[in-house]
């Protein structure tokens, strides 16, 4: 197991390197690091100075390598927008996003499993049709529209209709003014953002799991289990579900990078100061140093999560373990 893991970690390093180079190149090309000096009075001199100072006279490969070596040592440079150290900005921004992702993942996986298994076992029932319909809706609905509708119908609406002092759910940030910790206030803030992040995932994953379960339930070895006299419920849980879980994990892992996009949108709408919000602010301000580190940190996080899923994969499927 350990060997497999180390192999995978080592294998992902080249990918990370190339990914970081591509994003470095893209950001460098999209955001002119000398922009603010171009309109100064003695721009030519300043420009020449800054070129050397910022290392822009070197090749792009060299620039990237310099930046990377600094990054690895923890030096992510300073933001051109705020002047703060990028590493501390990212550190602050990571925490809210991790919370969102944590809750969203748990809820999505749990709900997707319940719905997927139920729909497969009770195929063609009313429940199945209902959830299938719901998942179609979920997949087709853009997440930002869902969020806006949720706010309008669950926050603004009820407050107006029922003349409430305070909305049932909050739509700004993760905590109210001056409040912190794991309490009802926190969950009232979490509810809608997490709902937004989960509903597309749940829609897609539950459909996938349902299809996998159906395939597995029709498999020969499930028929053997039934022929042995294994009761229905155990057939589903011990034979069908365990086998369907394996491809299910693949799909959930693949969707991780996609989830980042969802985080950006969710944090914007719900004013949560996480990595997503930070990205938007940085991009709008042309804050290249921040963006560079942002991309690499995100890529590392995605790979780390994928590795975690891989571990689960190996644990579940002995055919991989023994090859």
């Amino acid at each position: 197991m350990l060997r497999y893991l180390t192999r995978r970690v080592l294998g992902s390093i080249p990918v990370l390197l190339v990914a970081s180079f591509i994003t470095f190149w893209l950001v460098r090309v999209a955001i002119d690091p000398l922009a603010r000096y171009r309109h100064q009075r003695d721009s030519k001199r300043v420009l020449a100075e800054q070129r050397v100072k910022l290392g822009l006279d070197h090749s792009i490969l060299q620039q990237w390598w310099d930046w990377l070596t600094h990054f690895v040592r923890g030096d992510m440079g300073t933001s051109t927008r705020t002047g703060d150290s990028v590493s501390s900005m990212i550190g602050h921004a990571l925490w809210p996003s991790l919370q969102l992702l944590f809750w969203a993942t748990i809820v999505s996986v749990a709900v997707a499993i319940v719905l997927g298994v139920y729909s497969a076992v009770k195929q063609y029932s009313i429940g199945d049709y209902f959830f299938t319909g719901l998942s179609y809706v979920g997949i087709a609905m853009p997440d930002f529209w869902f969020a806006l509708l949720a706010i309008a119908l669950l926050v603004t609406g009820p407050t107006v209709w029922f003349h409430l002092d305070q909305p049932i759910f909050y739509s700004i940030g993760l905590h109210s003014e001056g409040v912190s910790g794991l309490n009802l206030d926190y969950f009232r803030h979490l509810a809608l953002p997490v709902l937004t992040l989960t509903f597309t995932s749940v829609a897609a994953w539950s459909r996938f799991l349902r299809a996998e379960m159906l395939g597995v339930l029709n498999a020969d070895y499930v028929r053997t289990a039934r022929a042995k006299g294994v009761p229905r419920r155990q057939v589903v849980s011990r034979h069908a579900f365990r086998n369907a879980l394996i491809p299910f994990l693949t799909v959930t892992a693949l969707d991780t990078a996609f989830l980042v996009g969802g985080v950006i949108i969710t944090e914007k709408i719900f004013s949560i100061s996480g990595m997503g919000q930070a990205f938007l602010t940085a991009l709008q301000a042309g804050d290249a140093p921040f963006l560079l580190s942002w991309f690499l940190v995100t890529a590392i996080a995605v790979i780390a999560f994928n590795l975690l899923v891989d571990v689960g994969y190996v644990a579940l499927d002995p055919r991989i373990r023994l090859s």
């Binding site: 070895y221 053997t224 289990a225 039934r226 042995k228 034979h239 086998n243 002995p318 055919r319 023994l322």
Partner: protein
């Protein structure tokens, strides 16, 4: 037959399809005596497998099953899931054709055998494991303790089939249904697997239903034979009856198409029954075999489904001319 362990009467199975109703099995009847081996023979699509699946209630919900299958005083076909479950794997067990797909790829072989026992008996884990190992040994798998901890993909084809047999006999069932157990195997392995089945049977007096399209297998192992064609029962009798005194044109055709090594037909072309099996949705009127039958006539065979004609003790054939086949003139 005196006190058969399983008695099937008028079993019919229909499926709904886009093109109409598919008659997979049509009015099949047979008895199975204790400790005997009944071979069910027929081409692909003759309804052999579907028949056995029906006995254990393993058909999909789209199947419409009618008839009677009396086992231990109850009609298996009328039992609901809850009352069938104690029968499956304990009183009636089944071995499937492709052992690779029939075994769960992510669970150890030993665990799967143990599960067969655990589902019906409340026994401690350690003892379950011991029993599983003993069963693997019984079916002739070397190093059974080590093998029990392995996964199906680590077994060879023959070993997998034996493991399936071990799983099926774990609870010493009264009836063992073997669905094409040797089809996917080499001939030498085939012989070994059949040998295992025979030994088991001697040991526990289990009745075996052996489903196959291979007449050679049937000749070596079966006591009685049921021949099926297009979902219908065509002929049934002892293995000697079927091989030496076949009373149905289809059976005769099957036997004629067996290649022989003894020089009797040296130099002659291999025989085959002309034509194709019929669609099970659009069956011919009258006898299902008559379009391909050299003895058929239009008045009777094309018009009327044949009754079962008795030909001897426990031997009957579904042919209008069963009793007079030898004298009958073949049509040109």
């Amino acid at each position: 037959m005196v006190d058969p362990v399983l008695s099937v009467r008028n079993l019919s199975i229909d499926f709904k399809t886009d093109d109409g109703v598919l008659h997979a099995v049509d009015d099949v009847s047979f008895d199975l005596a204790r400790g005997e081996t009944l071979g069910i023979v027929g081409e692909s699509g003759s309804g052999k497998t579907v028949t056995s699946l029906a006995l254990l209630g393993l058909l999909p919900k789209t199947a419409a099953v009618s008839g009677d299958a009396t086992f231990d005083g109850a009609n298996l076909l009328a039992l609901d899931e809850k009352r069938l479950q104690p029968v499956r794997g304990a009183r009636i067990a089944m071995i499937f054709q492709d052992a690779l797909t029939a075994l769960n790829p992510v669970r150890r072989v030993g665990d799967q055998i143990a599960e067969a026992i655990a589902v019906h008996h409340d026994i401690a884990r350690a003892e379950l494991h011991d029993r599983a190992v003993a069963l693997l040994d019984l079916v002739g798998i070397a190093q059974p303790a080590a093998r029990a901890g392995e996964y199906p993909h680590q077994f060879s084809g023959g070993m997998r089939q034996r493991a399936m047999i071990a799983m099926a006999i774990a609870n010493e069932p009264d009836v063992l249904i073997a669905d094409e157990p040797t089809t996917a195997l080499d001939v030498t392995i085939q012989a070994q697997v059949l040998d295992v089945l025979e030994r088991i049977q001697v040991r526990t007096d289990t009745a075996i239903i052996l489903i196959t399209h291979d007449l050679g297998v049937v000749a070596g192992v079966a006591d009685r034979v049921l021949v099926m064609y297009a979902g219908r029962e065509v002929e049934i009798g002892s293995v000697e009856d079927i091989f030496y005194r076949p009373g149905h044109p289809y059976t005769r055709g099957l036997l004629s198409s067996l290649p022989r090594l003894d020089g009797r037909e040296h130099g002659r072309r291999l025989f085959q029954i002309g034509g194709q099996p019929p669609s099970l949705v659009f069956l011919p009127t009258g006898c299902a075999f008559h379009p391909r039958c050299p003895f058929a006539d239009d008045e009777l065979c094309a018009a009327l489904v044949p009754d079962r004609q008795p030909l001897g003790d426990g031997h009957r054939s579904a042919c209008h001319y069963a009793a007079t086949l030898d004298e009958r003139e073949a049509r040109p």
